[in-house]
Symmetry: C2
Subunit: 360 residues, 2 copies
């Protein structure tokens, strides 16, 4: 049990310590699953692949927000049941990413081959390695989801808290799936649609990544509706800003830092606000060029660089940077709510800064 | 509230009534989800596709077993919380089938296009309709799983029962995923392996389809471990028999009754016990023929019929029929356990007969 951190360095150390606790719980859970699989003639590669995926990287933003939500109500000490619930959110994220990578045909994640790609290679001698890799990854993703549930079931939550947390988890999952579905269908719509990327960001990121993890942590500690609403006023603009930052990193980020291949978002034709703004602001020649090349899976690196130059020249990245600053400021202003204890505010402020000022 | 059925016709009517109750709960749940999606600018096709999948058919064997498990302990009346938990098992099965059809490249289920196929058609104007259909179906499957959880969360189960049921659900899901994964990898192994199909049947069918639904229903009513063990002695051999029947129907069933295209299992190269026995008993010419053609996605109907003739001539289907009879008898004998009340035994006996003597 530690006192609340009073300065920035101590706060950073606290967050690193909590992150390590979550990872440790996940690794020990998956180690046990691997032993169980070996002992019962099942398939040890299922837990092993999930563990490799989790330990290859990740910011652990959802578990950290869950822990911050708890601390905002209950103070700095985090009992094992809270660490385990936070770990469940990261296990859920493993499921989401493994499936996302199938949907987006991604080859690399966290600088490693994606799960479906790694399995296609492992079973290269099969009739259809690509489909076998996809199918196996689909099942491994589903297993991660099952184990996320098991982490919650076995976290030993008090009965009444358990019910509230389950309801929040159900809501989080529904919101995330709708966000993903809207994102998928968005690729059928016009490139300059600015509304849809914001709705997708709201469901897929603001609610799933920021608001619900905070709610779950706070609800574990018995927060009432007024408290959860105060957290939402911080969480939603921050989550929007987080997604806008992600979109910029997807186009302009350093692949060495993001762990994702450069130009993937362009080749996939991912609908982002920065793209919509660029297309809206472009002259006709630029617009034709963007329309021709964005979403072309075979886009050359040279052409991709030209696409990025056009996007930059329209001023769209600068516009999105301003939107990030505004939303970050709105989130930070929401921390003035008197419902939120001062110690919690320092942590939330730090998480907000990290979420918005990042390179990976 | 009805008295326990005392004859076969009344028992059949009771089961039909329970089945209708479960379907009704699922339809009203999904209708509400569709209204919610319309009201919130989300995607009504997500609940609509799941509802279409569920109402197109299905034996509802898992919910019926869950209700039978409850009735075995608590008597004939089934309160709404039990119907809702049973409905959650069918919603879970919708998730499992939608994903299974992606993995198996199935085009038809319950005489309708599979979800991924229907969506590929709906979005035929997209760049890659096949992948979009697959991705959308993957997400719709995940949503069905989420809603299965929500049905349990909102079933208003007493706290201590809820914990036991959640643990059983977690176990059920883990077993099913391992069974599916083993099934997937089995296609890499030899055609005459008789062991693996039995392990897969145990995990993917006996435990998932029969044992766990009975356990969940009984646990809802407060059954102790001894009672659950007695149910397992009935459930596991019955579940094995159920899978063996499925395998025979997959090869020799009437597609008009099964709703699945004929020869699909052969083209997919599905590893079943009947195939393993046939390959083991075949002479060299037959074995070469089977090895060449089983698993050939482009298998002609004529060649498929020759493959079936060879399988029949080896005596494998008759061997498997005998195994079904033995396992059915073992399950029925387990019903003599004095732990199980007589009224429950009649229902379980009827379910066992229906599971084994069926054409779809």
């Amino acid at each position: 049990m530690t006192a609340p951190a009073t300065n920035d360095a101590a706060l950073g150390a606290d967050l690193a310590d909590l992150k390590a606790k979550v990872t440790q719980r996940l690794v020990s859970f998956l180690d046990e699953k691997e032993c169980h699989a070996r002992d019962h003639g099942l398939v040890p590669e299922v837990p092993a692949m999930i563990r490799a995926h989790i330990t290859a990287g990740g910011k652990r933003i959802r578990p950290l927000l869950c822990l911050a939500g708890w601390q905002a109500v209950a103070g700095p000490a985090v009992p094992p049941m809270v660490v385990q619930t936070a770990a469940a959110l990261e296990m859920y994220q493993a499921f989401a990413l493994i499936h996302d990578d199938i949907i987006d045909n991604c080859l690399t994640r966290r600088s490693q081959p994606t799960v479906h790609r790694a399995l296609a290679r492992r079973y290269a001698h099969s009739n259809d390695p690509r489909h076998l890799g996809l199918s196996a990854a689909l099942l491994i993703g589903n297993m991660a989801l099952t184990w996320s549930d098991e982490l919650v079931t076995t976290a030993d939550l008090p009965g009444h808290r358990r019910t509230v947390v389950s309801g929040l988890l159900d809501a989080m999952r529904e919101e995330m799936h709708y966000g993903q579905y809207l994102d998928l269908l968005a690729t059928l719509g016009p490139l300059d649609d600015r509304q849809t990327p914001l709705i997708v960001a709201r469901y897929k990121t603001a609610k799933y990544t920021v608001e619900r993890p905070l709610h779950i942590g706070a609800a574990l500690a018995g927060a009432d509706t007024g408290f959860l609403d105060a957290l939402s006023r911080f969480a939603l603009p921050l989550g929007d800003a987080f997604q806008l930052r992600d979109d910029l990193l997807g186009l302009f980020g350093d692949p060495g830092a993001t762990g994702k291949p450069v130009f993937d978002d362009l080749r996939e034709g991912k609908r982002t606000l920065v793209l919509a703004v660029a297309v809206g602001e472009a002259n006709q020649d630029q617009k034709d060029f963007l329309t021709e090349h964005v979403g072309d899976a075979g886009l050359s690196d040279d052409t991709a660089r030209q696409v990025l130059d056009i996007i930059t020249s329209t001023g769209a990245p600068a516009t999105v940077e301003r939107m990030i600053v505004e939303r970050h400021a709105e989130a930070v202003a929401a921390l003035d709510d008197k419902v939120l204890p001062r110690a919690a505010v320092a942590t939330l402020r730090r998480i907000a800064d990290d979420a918005v000022h990042r390179e990976s």
